[in-house]
Amino acid sequence: MSDTPMLRVENLDVFYGSYQVLWDVGLELGNDEVVAVLGPNGSGKSTVLKAIMGLVPIRSGRVIFEGEDLTQVPTHEMVAHGISMVLERRRLFTNMTVRENILLGAYHKSVAKDTKARLEWVESLFPILAERRDQIAGKMSGGEQQMVAIARSLMSKPRLLLMDEPYLGLAPKIVDQIVQIIRKINSEGIAILFNEQNVKLSFGVSDHGYLLEGGRMVLSGTGDEMMNSDVVRRVYLGV
């Protein structure tokens, strides 16, 4: 990891009401990196991504991106700073068409330029979405919906893409496709921070990972380090 990371999350505390879900969470991500946030159900890994994006209030701590403090930036301004997100379970605008969903990804004025070129680019990544452009998004299969969600998130040409459980609820064959897509997006110079429950699956694509347990960061390391770690075994298997 470089000395000045692209994204640096420091001492994050997050509460839902009076219930604390994240304790002193920190992580770093370098340019062009793919980093996984791992952890069992309820460990707070979704909350980490949501907190970075401003979807849940941060009680204390900081989010620094490209040297800029984005902790207080509202969600709807994040794309202007180069961060986009694929929400958990896709969260499409289900009554709108595929094309409308994708174009809404370039809604923000700061990224609305060259919409046409970007549309061509994302449709080259997902040729099926060009064919299905007039279909109502909610009527597509889970895998196709995930492609629309990813395509939408890429329309703002982010430098960092947050992906909340990108494999959730998808068939194994589709998961393989999504893995390929993540690699491809990363090869275009976009850094990716994603979370996932399945450790083995995560290190198919990520350079580096963090392990959350009960809202606390308990381990970080490369794929090999994490795969062979006793901590990972204890967290997941309870031994």
Binding site: P74, H76, R91, F93, T94, L104, Y107
Partner: protein, 291 residues
Amino acid sequence: MSIYLFIEQIINGLIIGSTYALIGSGIALIYGTMRVLNLAHGEFYMLGGYFVFYLAVTMGLAPWIAIPAAVFGAFLLGMAIQRTTIHFLFGREGWMFSTIAATLGLSIFLQNAALLLFGEQFQTVPYYISGIVELGQIRIPAQRILIFVVAMTTIGAMTYMLKYTRLGWAIRATSQDRDAAAVVGIPAERIYMITFGIAAALGAIAAAMLAPIYSINPWSGLPILLKGFVVVILGGLGSFPGAIAGGLILGVVEAVGVQITSSEWRDVISFGLMIAVIWWRPWGLFGSKPS
């Protein structure tokens, strides 16, 4: 009953129904976007009527200046009301109930404010155009045709706006998924404020068009609110196209029903229809059955 009288009643029903559609679509827009049931919607209509009255009658402005000015005033008022009341409740614990209580309070407040400011006498506005249009045996006052044309043009413009403009996309996206909309850069708070303004403006357009036929008074919003509820229940709560269809259907059913029975039965017919729809298709005639 002669066939011509029957056709005339259907046309009259469509005309009044087009204004019901304006009221219902405002309620549907707010509910669809924010899931807030706006019990003060009738007061947008009532205040819109007074705005028209003061501009067109008291100040003597031409209708084509007075009406747009009144509608714009209602738009600003709607935004101001959202920003100073609903804004602070929305999304908090228990907001679904607190916003209903707040809009009910707002309704009472605005009625009494109107009573204090404008007095209790009933006001009317003269016809914008005179004359009678004759189509064979069917005779319709030109004023009523104007109501229908203005209402349907407004609805057409709204439909176009929602379908093809940047603002329309933002409203639809926010109504479907607020977080996903925020992620792509749509400021939900601003969209909510604008939505309230648009709904108030739709109410004011209905008021402007009905002002020459019905009187304006501090309580004129309540019956209109109830009609608006019938409309959105017919069409499916929160559905904009449903509200338009619901409004036209209600207008025709009322007009024909009154013709068959008598005018005292008007509300019995409309609420009977509403109860039948709730019983038979609680998701509305055009809404989709919740899975």
